[in-house]
Symmetry: C2
Subunit: 347 residues, 2 copies
DNA sequence: CTGAAAGCGCTTACAG
DNA sequence: CTGAAAGCGCTTACAG
């Protein structure tokens, strides 16, 4: 357990070459005789040598870390996005460093500072508003953006998503009194959805009664969704349908209807932004937009790779993940066997 | 975006002291005049200096990374455990490096090797069987263990958990034909639960019909639980109750009963190891053991901290997280208002 | 093609 | 209390 790991000087000694030669042999430098390279590799294998990547980064000036800052890695949406990011970044030789902001600006600021002192090549941030001044490394914002900053922005097509959901509610089912449960609009994802909802209702000349709009908490918890739905039902604004800005709000909202003996979709229809985890196994099955956290993570990481390769200074690229609706039962559609899938994109 | 971060030599120059003095001033070394320390700190602040933690680790020989290897970080159980580990490790100045084994021994081996070349102080592993020879740094196994290896083992009290569930099924409800859905016993968590089930049934002189035992897949997916339950129902062994080794299997099993128009608990009772995420919002509400991934992660990380502080060589400590049962509806208990909570421990 | 040397950004004995 | 120097484990010009 305490045995020291061998270093390159030991490998060089074992192979009978100079340190520099051993380094070149190991790193695939072309100007090394085949026979020499083999000798060095054999020595490395014999000693169980593995290069010290920290020393390598320090000396070469090419950091091999990428920092990721999310509100909460225990949130399955961010956990999924992280996984996808790791897949693309690790295949390019980068190691991911994750930190949680806990949705607090001060903690986010600390996390970024900490990441920077570990020499990250770049940053992927779902911001909670803690980005003081622009980080000195290429930065891609995802999910929760900082308008105007960074190399690229990657998020879902929030506006389009709300439009697709409203289209279904209004166009297919003919609902008019539609309620909305969203998160506090301090983050772009919440703000964009709320704005799209009010704009979409106005465009359809449907009522935007304040009693039809409720707010969950900033952590998007099911419990806050339950309370928001309870408020909606208390207000006696008699919504025919509710549009939830997240799967978690939907779970809570459904529970709130059960609390009063109501049923979805019989008594009130519900559609949702984001399928719940294991959505196939939850009753009632939700008509919802796919979460696509994997795509989001993958695209965001790819954008960062672009920045790392040719970090040209230019206005931030705004990438939107197209929305995908799965129609199931919660909206009032009966037929589960042939789900209608509307694919829309903003590109 | 491209501005270089200032180094300690620049801070020293700005403060008019030698490099070594600047280093001591910043690191809180006692032998520094107050006035000098203030000058250095002022210079550091002025330049926006942040120490390079990689260089510090390399020179001091005290690595500040801890490696975590899990089957799949997108799995919310592991994501929750990771979060807890981060909380305790970051407060001690460590930075966590996570990698996924994807439940494959070869990938786990690669992950460990990669982590080691980044100079981790220690390792936290939920093993998929890829630990070739003992890592040269203190290692704590959690959830999925490697018997005999490492500094400590931290897992839930699997045997006790099964006992508590059987006690409830048999003692409270009087069920006798009890089925089991578990994961392939290649990992200790699955093996311990299966063994405890057969032993517990035998001890109670209840039937252990092979038709009453079904296996899901190694990723513990709901879909495989659904198929396992379907097989159980097909076998016509007529179970009165089913004990699922995970929340995911339970979700699938419930879906399988719905597939045939059966209902839980009316037609068949169900109890589960591990509450589902957002379990309060899922119908039927499950009688299940708390997942406790936060406690698990916290305890495992604390054990590693112990090893890091006084890494005495000794037989691995075996720590078990006590089990906690929440009685709800899926077992057949009607009263939801006063959940009976049985606390049992193996300590 | 190979070796000797400098140096990445730090910490830490060793003198004074 | 402070400075000058060595060195962590590497990479990379520079000679030869």
């Amino acid at each position: 357990m305490a045995k020291r790991r061998p270093t390159l000087v030991e490998v060089a000694a074992e192979a009978g070459v100079a340190l520099g030669t051993a380094s070149r042999a190991m790193s695939g430098h072309p100007a090394v005789r085949d026979e020499t390279r083999r000798r060095v590799q054999a020595a490395a294998r014999k000693l169980g040598y593995e290069p010290n990547r920290l020393a390598r980064s320090l000396r070469s000036g090419n950091p091999h870390f990428v920092g990721v800052v999310v509100p909460d890695i225990a949130n399955d949406f961010y956990a999924g996005a992280l996984k996808a990011m790791q897949d693309v970044l690790e295949s390019e030789g980068y190691q991911v460093l994750v930190m949680n902001s806990e949705r607090r600006a001060a903690r986010e600021r600390e996390a970024i500072k900490s990441l920077l002192s570990q020499e990250v090549a770049g940053l992927l941030i779902a911001t909670a508003g803690g980005v003081a001044d622009e980080p000195p490394v290429p930065t891609v914002y995802f999910d929760s953006l900082l308008p105007g900053a960074g190399f690229a922005h990657v998020a879902r097509a929030n506006q389009d998503g709300i439009e697709v959901l409203l289209d279904h509610l209004v166009g297919v089912h003919g609902y008019e009194r539609i309620a909305y449960i969203g998160a506090p609009p301090d983050v772009t994802s919440a703000a964009e959805r709320l704005d799209a909802f009010t704009a979409g209702m106005a465009a359809r000349r449907l009522p935007i009664d304040p009693d039809l709009i409720a707010e969950g908490d900033e952590a998007w918890t099911p419990q806050s969704g339950r309370e928001a739905m309870a408020r909606l039902l208390d207000a006696a604004a008699n919504p025919e349908a509710v549009l939830c800005a997240s799967d978690t709000f939907s779970l809570g909202a459904i529970q709130a209807t059960r609390d009063r003996g109501l049923r979805v979709p019989r008594d009130i229809a519900l559609v949702s932004f984001d399928d719940p985890l294991y959505g196939e196994f939850i009753e009632p099955r939700l008509t919802a937009l796919a979460r696509q956290e994997r795509v989001l993570g993958k695209v965001a990481a790819s954008q960062l790779l672009n920045a790392l390769r040719n970090g040209a200074k230019r206005p931030a690229l705004n990438v939107r993940i197209p929305v995908e609706l799965t129609v199931r039962r919660s909206c009032g559609c009966a037929d589960e066997t042939a789900p209608h899938r509307a694919i829309r994109t903003l590109f």
